[in-house]
């Protein structure tokens, strides 16, 4: 059974088509990434799927329930971490967790156990007595994500959940989510940090101007839309315009650029195994010394940008 099944979903605000005839499915235990530039329709889609706003048209089933007729049944089984902050300003971290569990009718004993676990898991134990208002942005974000795990759910919506988190906290949060997915949780996930999407998502849909442009696995998106691989190398001598001229004549090299920040050259090619020996030959001919060289794989970010550029054109 599909956990989310969306057909021809549209949400219009006056003349503006925030979401325009989109369709997709999400399977049980899947992490479904929903990526797009600012204003593409990601948050609006989440607001519709979480029953917060009504769809203009379309058929949507969430956890087997009709979105229009069975909103309450859906809300009983989902968790949502909104893009915007949400907290009770006067309540301490542990009080906020407990109160949120109480709102969801979680028994007292279970609440106490979960509060302890989540405080430690999300690095909030030291700040457990601090009122939410006095927390840093990152701490409040961690609290917001942790809070959602005070109650049981089958489907979790995460709208840019790691905004404001440092690298360690971000990785810890993603690993925590991965563990939950292993135990059967399904996640609908939006982010602007594409490494995160690649790390966590089984499939990704890219939305632009309210329409879904493509849906596939991260690997397939990179393969289909990512640029060629890149041979990145540095010279002991720093720069060499002569070498660049010679490399540009190699048929298998699409283009070569030098990174001004670290002086490394990036030669884009579909055949790095052909280009690398030639590079060494050319460098030797000019009496230059290559100090480091490696093959850079296309990234999801490359693919994402290509997808948006193709869509624009």
């Amino acid at each position: 059974m599909d956990i989310i099944a969306v057909e021809s979903l549209s949400k219009h605000y006056g003349d503006k088509k925030a979401v325009d005839d989109v369709g997709f499915t999400v399977s049980k235990g899947e992490v479904f990434g929903f990526l797009g530039p600012n204003g593409a329709g990601k948050t609006t889609t989440i607001k519709v799927l979480t029953t917060l706003v009504r769809a203009t048209s379309g058929n949507v089933r969430v956890l087997g329930h009709d979105l229009r007729k069975e909103a309450k049944q859906i809300r009983n089984k989902i968790g949502v971490v909104q893009q915007q902050e949400s907290y009770d300003q006067n309540i301490s971290v542990e009080g906020g967790l407990d109160l949120y569990g109480f709102l969801w009718d979680v028994p007292k004993q279970k609440r106490a156990e979960r509060v302890e676990i989540l405080l430690k898991q999300f690095g909030l134990y030291e700040a457990r007595k601090t009122p939410s208002l006095d927390l840093s942005i990152g701490q409040r974000r961690r609290l917001q994500v942790a809070r959602e795990f005070m109650h049981d759910m089958d489907l979790l919506f995460l709208d840019e959940p790691t905004v404001g988190l440092d690298s360690l906290a971000r990785r810890a949060t993603l690993d925590f989510l991965k563990e939950k997915v292993k135990n059967g949780l399904t996640i609908f996930f939006t982010t602007h940090i594409l490494e995160e999407a690649e790390y966590l998502c089984n499939r990704i849909a890219v939305i632009n101007n309210g329409k879904i442009v493509t849906t596939d696995t991260p690997q397939n998106l990179k393969r289909k839309f990512g640029q060629s691989k890149s041979v990145d190398f540095k010279l002991l001598e720093g720069t060499s315009p002569e070498l660049v001229k010679l490399i540009e004549r190699i048929d298998d090299v699409n283009k070569i650029v030098q990174d001004v920040s670290d002086g490394a050259y990036h030669a884009t090619t579909a055949k790095p195994e052909v280009v690398i020996p030639m590079l060494y030959q050319l460098a030797a001919r000019l009496n230059l010394h290559i100090t480091s060289i490696y093959i850079a794989e296309p990234t999801l970010e490359d693919a994402f940008i290509s997808i948006l550029q193709e869509d624009k054109s």
Partner: protein, 253 residues
Amino acid sequence: MNVMVRLVYRNLRANLDKGSLFFELIFPLFFIFIQGAAVAGIVPPFDIGNGRVISYSLFLAAGAVTLTVINGGTNAGTQLWFDRRHGMFEQILMGPFTRAQYIFSIIITTLIIGMAASILVFVFALPVLSGISITLQASLLTGLALFLGTIFFGAFAITLSVALKSSEAFQIISTVAFFIFLFTSSVFFPVDRAPGYIQAVSLLNPLTYTTDIFRAGLFDATTPILPLEITALSIEAAIMFTVAVAAFRRIKV
């Protein structure tokens, strides 16, 4: 546990801070123990209806109790305001709750806070109010006054918090409204002896009716117009409540 109980408990815990509670209690007590005592020396006891003659201290003590319903009511707007500002409004609506349950939980929370604060002020004011007898009629009338007054001012504050876009505007407008309600009502003086323009405004003012009904119950000073005042306050509370619900339904998320 019942959904409403959970929501109301959450509202109470999330929105009651010690500072505002202290203010809600201390503010009326200043009127009772300082202004009432000071002004009573220059104002002779006077008739408030039904032949009941009381001192200005007693008169103002009753007014100060009803004053707390405005504070309690403002609390409703503040709750909604903070829930919207800090994202909890949407968060709750994406949980196992409906909009109707949320707004009713705010109203019930306001009633609890308003009634509890009024009773507390009443208890603190007992030294001034010594000698009054609490009859069934007194309890019913005072309870009704506080209930209807809290409903009106709670609904009023909710409407304001929905209509106004910034917290500064909400604070300023609610404070200005607070003073208008306060000084054109019978909290501080008997309006029937005030200049005509004040009397005219006071006829529209729900705090006038709240205070008059409360005093009538507390001091057994019922007058022939009391049923009219109860009707007027009920209508005003019902209209304001309807406006608040309509405004609330229009909140965009």
